[in-house]
Subunit: 343 residues, 2 copies
């Protein structure tokens, strides 16, 4: 369709064409034709609410494929739900877009949302569509369900627990460097095309650990998703739980591609441990549950690694994360993670 002014859809037509199909099977969305939407929580369940926004130029690159942007926006919210042990229920979407945004962009963005919906089981509930003269700002508020009292929080880690992490850490940081053209050329040449595709996919299409949520509910004492960087997010858990987290850096799971990258350029390792955008789950559990965790993870083909342990924290200070190398020497990172509005 030609993208001329005369043929442009208005706000209501855009919603009808691109977003209403995402509500299929969700009568509570009221066809996106009301001021609000309805959710029927089953008795005995709590609603878990999480909200994540992405801004062009900050959380994604302006020329990224809109389908990847939509997919990632929903995936990062699903990741928060999964880390709490919650099943996906429904989500609201707010798009703040420049007036000049082309319909093709919105169509692909909605297609990416639809792909993530189908992959992880989620339905659009409602939202808002506004105009901005600035960079696109895209927000999802997602609702999930857990049987009452079973949500896993950051604050449940206890001394003696083991510390686990799903999947692999640091791929998205490498993917970002690659996408931004900031990867040293010797490293680019050390990676083959499959490696590069893998890293970009890890950046653009994070995989929320939704399938692992039921296991977290029953086996974990504390859990959170890794979005700001492994070191920073473990710091949040250590402070919320009032414990120290001791991490063996060598035990942190790296993909084959990340291992190849570190072999080529060893100074990358601290960056991978602090880089962010991993959307894996870090969680703690008593050692007695390690076998059950292994079985639950194997059943869904998800690697889970024990990377350290929880220890009591001296009463005079808040909990902290201590990374050690293979000789037991403490590693100190220049930055522990990404912060907006850093001091």
């Amino acid at each position: 369709m030609p993208d001329t002014d005369a043929s442009r859809l208005n706000e209501f037509q855009r919603i009808e064409r691109f977003f209403k199909p995402l509500t299929l099977g969700n009568p509570g969305a009221l066809g996106l034709a009301d001021d609000a939407a309805l959710v029927d929580p089953p008795a005995g369940f709590q609603i878990v609410v999480t909200t994540d926004a992405m801004v062009a130029g900050v959380h994604f690159l302006v020329h990224d494929d809109p389908a990847d942007i939509g997919y990632k926006l929903l995936a990062v919210n699903l990741s928060d739900l999964a880390a709490k042990g919650a099943e996906p229920l429904a989500y609201s979407l707010v798009t703040a877009l420049d007036q000049a945004t082309k319909e093709g962009w919105i169509e692909r963005f909605a297609a990416g949302l639809g792909e993530a919906q189908r992959a992880f089981g989620m339905r659009l509930l409602g939202g808002d569509s506004v105009a901005t003269s600035g960079p696109a700002c895209l927000t999802i508020s997602a609702l999930g369900l857990t049987p009452t009292g079973t949500a896993r929080l950051r604050s449940g880690a206890r001394p003696g627990d083991c510390l686990f992490v799903t999947g692999s850490i640091g791929d998205a940081l490498l993917g970002l460097r690659l996408a931004q053209g900031q990867m040293p050329s010797n490293l680019v040449h050390a990676l083959d095309p499959a490696d590069r595709s893998f890293l970009l996919a890890r950046l653009r299409r994070p995989c929320p650990r939704t399938a692992f949520a039921p296991a977290l509910r029953t086996l974990a004492t504390a859990a959170l998703d890794i979005s700001d960087g492994l070191a920073a997010d473990l710091g949040h858990m250590a402070r919320a739980s009032g414990v120290d987290l001791h991490v063996r850096a060598a035990a942190v799971p790296l993909s084959a591609t990340a291992r190849k990258s570190v072999a080529c350029q060893p100074e990358l390792l601290p960056l991978l441990l602090t880089g962010g955008d991993d959307y894996e789950v870090a969680f703690t559990a008593p050692p007695s549950r390690a076998l059950a965790i292994d079985e639950a993870a194997s059943a869904i083909g998800l690697p889970v690694a024990c990377i350290g342990e929880v220890r009591a924290c001296p009463p005079q200070r808040s909990g902290q994360v201590i990374f050690c190398d293979e000789e037991g020497q403490r590693l100190v990172f220049a930055r522990s993670g990404y912060q907006h509005f850093s001091a």
Copy 2:
């Protein structure tokens, strides 16, 4: 506190200082220290979800008092809940702000949210805080509760129903003209300071009809809040219900200040009926309930006016709104309401 770079709070400190106090009494917010928040819906209730965003330069003026912006952001979401007959429960907040935003701005913005919370009964649940290089984009996703099956939708209007509206229409449009310096000087002079304060307050501090929600649940057949303009929002109701709405323009309730304005400048009337930002409730109900509606409204000191009636719509077209003057002549407006991304 001096607003120098060295003294600026980081993201977590800002959340702790300005937003965590808004979660008081809401243990499900987990002190804003987790990835998600928990809501316990009581058995037999549905959750009503609504989402409204405001962008600087579009929904508010850049130099507006941040306390008014915070107040209005929460109030417009509460207005959607009230129009569905829902009681306020909790809300998530996303702030996308420029890095240069001063802490004093955020403090006053949070204070405005707090005022609206206390006025209407609402608690902060969680959210996200991101940086943008563009205009501020502020989003609330609000949750309310209705006994299952009692939420009032746009689609319930039936031929023979009366059409009602709460409060008064058009004050916010006049307030906007005044705030933007676009009010003709003869009209500015016709208004006294109390009139001008009233109009600005109606623009900046809308009053969600939360107290009327229980009456809507039991008495209304259809309801929606008037945010895009009376004519446009009634159009939504007419199409959703598949009915025609016949409105006597002279019956639309105007405040004393708006009446004074129209007396001075009669061509203002169509603007008031299409202007938007009213945050009143339009609803329909059978004539047999008119007395009960009157009693329920009087009990909370809320004026409610019958402005027209619902008639069957010919099967070959969708429902529409028909405004008539006192002689029964049809009025046609140049624009029916505000749209983002107009064609």
